[in-house]
Symmetry: C2
Subunit: 482 residues, 2 copies
């Protein structure tokens, strides 16, 4: 426990002792969230929200580069509108919040707070799509949605969460399927490049599809504790919604046709994924691209002549590079500051004191690896840029990938699956599946591991289903999930 000025950085629970408590400790001690009297909802505090702003900025840029436009739909959906697509309402109605009164008056029709906005987009499409010239429409919105969950955890599962929902409508099935796949690629690229988190791209089984979808694709990541986390989904709807909402367009050949739709979403859950992919027993570890503070400069013996001046010089050098950098010249001790910014996951710490100045150098401490190195001041700007742009992100990705690979197993029977999971703890299991829902359920019942996805990159583990022993040609990724 580093202590100074009556303030202290308390140690957090070790992830080996209690992973859930370790997670909650980081959420609180890194000042990401705070609880409220609104059950299942949270305050996202400045440091947590700044991570989300960085995620938003990068993702929004990727959406715009791929031709998408932002819109904003109402947060309410009339009950009759929600009911128009049968599978969709069955999937969502049990978990929506209902508005029944406006002021003191009872509403003629109940409104739900959007759990997702397919129905609103469909109503809008019906108004604005008439001709092949009106297609495609490539839309996205950044909003919050509400799902009335029973048990909640910060970022991972809360009654209200922030997300983006992309919604697109196309003339043909081929175009819509290509869009679904393209956005899954965008999601995977975002996670791997900017969050330094390896993901598996794949398709969900029938029983795990989004309510109303023909096909759901997902990216799956593996957390420190061996549990899987779905980091993003992309859905292909066919023309089911178009038929339910009577959306039709006149094609070039002058006939009326139903268009094809997609939707795709990522949420504040990504912040939970970052915590559980990179965090350690000293706290959060943030990828440079989404870190609110990329570099913290900590002066050592700052009362000594020239130290703060030099620290300020280094600050200006990094600011000029457009980096998010902070100089902490508060009267807390260097030890307290080290612990504080380690807790907050700042990717790089620069230490500068009288001896460093004497030797024309400073110390760079890399958060994810714990490595400390002397850097000549002449190389300072280039070294920091290189660390943040390449060395740290690549190193973080590699570490996460190694962790995943270490916890990924191939099995050919449910007995083997059970044994592997019991001996090694949770992880990903690659095993063949015949395609029947019965086997899918039985694997989960016997081993605790459910189907995460049918990976795009298939491997041939065996000729037969891990469960029933019948002929099987699909490899499924199994695991326990958040």
């Amino acid at each position: 426990m580093a202590k100074n000025n009556g303030k202290m950085v308390e140690a957090i629970t070790s992830m080996d002792d209690d992973f859930a408590q370790w997670y909650t400790d980081i959420c609180k001690k890194a000042e990401l969230v705070e609880y409220t009297s609104v059950k299942g909802c949270m305050v996202i505090r400045p440091y947590g929200y700044a991570i989300w702003e960085n995620i938003q900025r990068i993702l929004d840029g990727m959406f715009k580069e791929t031709g998408h436009e932002n819109v904003c739909m109402p947060m309410f959906i009339p009950e009759s509108l929600l009911q128009k697509e049968k599978d969709h309402v069955e999937g969502f109605a049990p978990e929506v919040a209902w508005v029944t009164h406006g002021g003191s008056e009872k509403l003629e029709e109940r409104l739900c707070v959007r759990p997702t906005s397919e129905t609103l987009f469909c109503e809008h499409y019906a108004n604005i799509v008439h001709s092949y010239r009106d297609l495609p429409k490539l839309y996205n919105q950044w909003v919050s949605v509400v799902r009335w969950e029973k048990t909640t955890r910060p970022f991972l599962r809360s009654r209200e969460f922030l997300w983006q929902e992309g919604h697109t409508i196309h003339a043909t099935a081929e175009e819509a399927i290509a869009e679904t796949e393209k956005m899954l690629d965008v999601y995977a690229e975002f996670c791997e490049k900017h969050l330094c988190m390896p993901v598996v791209k794949g398709r969900k089984t029938e029983s795990d599809k989004f309510a109303g979808a023909v096909a759901t694709y997902a990216i799956e990541a593996l957390m420190h504790d061996g549990k899987a986390l779905q980091a993003g989904t992309s859905h292909y709807f066919g023309d089911g919604f178009a038929k339910a909402f009577n959306i039709q367009y006149t094609d070039k050949d002058n006939t009326l046709k139903y268009p094809h739709q997609t939707s795709w979403g990522m949420t504040t859950r990504l912040i939970g994924a970052v915590i559980m992919t990179h965090g350690d027993n000293s706290g959060l570890v943030l990828p440079p691209d989404v870190a609110p503070i990329q570099v913290v400069i900590v002066p050592v013996a700052q009362h000594k002549e020239g130290v703060l001046e030099k620290a300020n010089e280094l600050l200006q050098i990094l600011k000029a590079q457009g980096l998010r950098v902070k100089l902490d010249d508060s009267d807390n001790s260097p030890g307290w500051k080290f612990a504080e910014y380690e807790m907050k996951g700042v990717p790089l710490r620069v230490e500068i004191g009288p001896k460093d100045i004497e030797n024309n150098k400073c110390v760079c401490a890399v958060r994810y690896s714990g490595e400390k190195r002397d850097v000549p001041l002449a190389d300072f700007a280039d070294t920091v840029a290189e660390l943040l742009k390449n060395e740290i992100p690549q190193g973080m990705y590699k570490k996460a990938e190694e962790n995943r690979e270490r916890r990924t197993y191939k099995c050919t029977s449910t007995d083997e699956m059970k044994k592997v999971l019991e001996e090694n703890g949770d992880g990903f299991i690659k095993a063949m599946w015949c395609g029947s829902e019965e086997c899918e359920d039985k694997v989960k019942e016997l081993t605790g591991a459910g189907s995460r996805c049918i990976p795009n990159e298939q491997e041939h583990i065996a000729d037969t289903c891990v469960c029933c022993g019948k002929k099987a040609d699909k490899m499924v990724l199994w695991g326990k999930a958040y």
Copy 2:
């Protein structure tokens, strides 16, 4: 009516014939919004939302420069929390939407959808503010809020609207008052510099204050039709909320004290203000800083050799300057394109055809003034930059200011007020007020014009109240309001 390819740009209702219809026509024809089956709520379409994104980006930068951090509170407020501050709940309870059920279960306590978030911020402050070292907290959030209005109009008054709400908490009253005033200045600067809309800064009368505030400050603008529009408000709360929510901090002298709070907000209403300040009978007129497309390039006789090449060259020149520019090389006629981008309020149109190329020039058409001028291609980049940065914004501001001044009158009696308004139509009236609520109500009853604010910049119009004739030392700005 310009027509091409079966598409047409229909003329809109003249603002002189029917101002309300003119406004609605622009909202629809410029593709800013679309109606939905959710009563009183709207879809903000890509072109409308892009204006909001520009407003957000600029304002958010101004907030961060003044030291504010973004956070995100839940969208729900438990009824008991809303009731903690007496004046506040009285003001808002009659117009909130109530959530009573989650899925099929009735909630133990009703939740309202936030109409504003003071109560949530107060609950959070009580958790995190303990010492003078924790102060000030300078927070803001970008969210939507819900108020159950009876009559609604796109942007101006809708049941759900987008806004930012700033919330700050300070050790002393002086600091909090300074913050309230500072943010009013930020709002005024934003409106005048970036929206080219002159505003009057002032204080609201007691009867017009925000529910729970000690003082409410506002900026007021005058629309084309002579009606006033409140464009932003900034509230000083004193320590009333702190006492109601038991927020206390230990000061340097080791005694417990109540902190002082503020809040301030601007909304999507600003888009309505832009429409009614700058729009004309050809459609929208957008200030360059918030226009989704700042320059549209329209090739003339684009099938002729070299035209599209030259148009593309001009496009690249402007893109390299970081401008938001579009080249419309679709097969619609130039006439159709002119009408379309006039409707959409694009600040500058560049026309380039074979004759222009022959003469090494292009034509620049300024949307707000209707002026067209030949520009030598050698001066193209500089001329466009200067137009967008200075000439157009300054010209738009001046035009709006002249319109406001032409419709601002000084009166010394309610009879004179009535006469002036009857003869000239609506506008701002400067007149003295004794300070009594009775006179305030009576002026409104007699003339239709209510108190908009007590301007910071006072003028001495007379010695006596415009209503009761008693001694008066306050000049009030009166007008009918949106």
